[in-house]
């Protein structure tokens, strides 16, 4: 899988061989048509980002980013991709995959729909924590309830929020400012927090053994 990812990244840097790539990242297909359009519509004003595509893994009614989308999912007009003339840096996936460690089914989230880490924390909480809660609980109400003191560190109890950046490093989310984070995050990984405790103490213990 690692070689796959590096291939994908290499192809991002060179050209746009979106067609014929048998990846499960269907949102790339959305981007390919988006960039095709952006070449034609040069000079249009920076617009809202294109909405994420339908979830290929099946309907996910509780996913907040999909609730906000119109049913058609078409482009609203001009695209954000022509902000950068450089095609390489313009290729930012509008929606990133969110993987909860241990689960086989992932979610998608559109980072551009959020304006801060706290907003993201709220969305992650809705995505993963409120699923286990009462299904009839309205996601909007849950957000109001729990959003008061919510941040990335307590969004999903027992887990911490990390992300993969453009260089395929796994980093703890929260160090960068929000805008930089949105720019570099390729995928979000929710890791069990017990890994955290191994990091400090057991690192030293291993030395003394």
């Amino acid at each position: 899988m690692n070689s796959f990812d590096s291939q994908r990244q290499d192809s991002l840097k060179r050209m746009r061989p979106w067609h014929g790539q048998a990846h499960h990242h269907h949102h790339q297909q959305q981007i390919s048509s988006a960039t095709f359009l952006s070449k034609i519509m040069i000079g249009s004003s920076p617009p809202p980002p294109p909405p994420p595509p339908p979830n290929p893994l099946g309907p996910s009614p509780r996913n907040p980013s999909f609730k906000l989308q119109p049913a058609g999912g078409g482009f609203t007009g001009s695209l954000q991709l022509d902000e950068d003339k450089d095609l390489v840096s313009a290729v930012v996936p509008p929606a990133v995959t969110v993987v909860l460690e241990g689960r086989s089914i992932c979610h998608r989230i559109n980072l551009h729909k959020h304006e801060s880490y706290q907003s993201l924390a709220r969305a992650l909480r809705q995505m993963f924590v409120d699923e286990e809660a009462d299904l009839s609980l309205d996601a909007g109400m849950a957000a109001d309830d729990k959003g008061k003191d919510l941040d990335l560190s307590n969004a999903i109890p027992g887990y911490l929020v990390a992300y993969e950046d453009m260089e395929n490093d796994l980093l703890l989310a929260g160090d960068l400012n929000w805008k930089d984070f949105v720019r570099v995050a390729k995928r979000i990984r929710i890791l069990p927090a017990k890994l955290n405790s191994r990091k400090g103490r057991s690192g030293a213990q291993a030395i003394s053994n």
Binding site: L170, D175, N196, G203, A204
Partner: protein, 92 residues
């Protein structure tokens, strides 16, 4: 940090000197670089950890060799080495 499950991002310009940076690293990763007040170059001795950095040429150097200003402009990645690799460096 060797052994850590994930990496961290740091803005080096926040710090004005090596001792400040090392203190911040110790706090962030909860390890100890060594005894002393971090003002001497030989504080690495006796520690299982050696802070190293990758410069623009891709070489891994021991943190503290070059003047601070030169360091923050050339450092691309920091790596806290531990174990055998660290011992090799601190013995220099």
């Amino acid at each position: 940090m060797d052994g850590a499950p994930y990496l961290r991002k740091m803005d080096l310009k926040q710090y004005k000197s090596y001792p400040e940076l090392l203190k911040a690293l110790e706090n962030m990763f909860t390890f100890s670089i060594g005894p002393g007040d971090h003002s001497e170059r030989d504080y690495y001795k006796g520690s299982e950890y050696a802070p190293t950095y990758e410069d623009k040429d891709g070489d891994w150097m021991l943190v503290g060799d070059v003047p601070w200003n030169m360091f923050i402009s050339s450092c691309k990645r920091l790596r806290i080495m531990r174990g055998q690799e660290a011992q090799g460096l601190t013995c220099l």
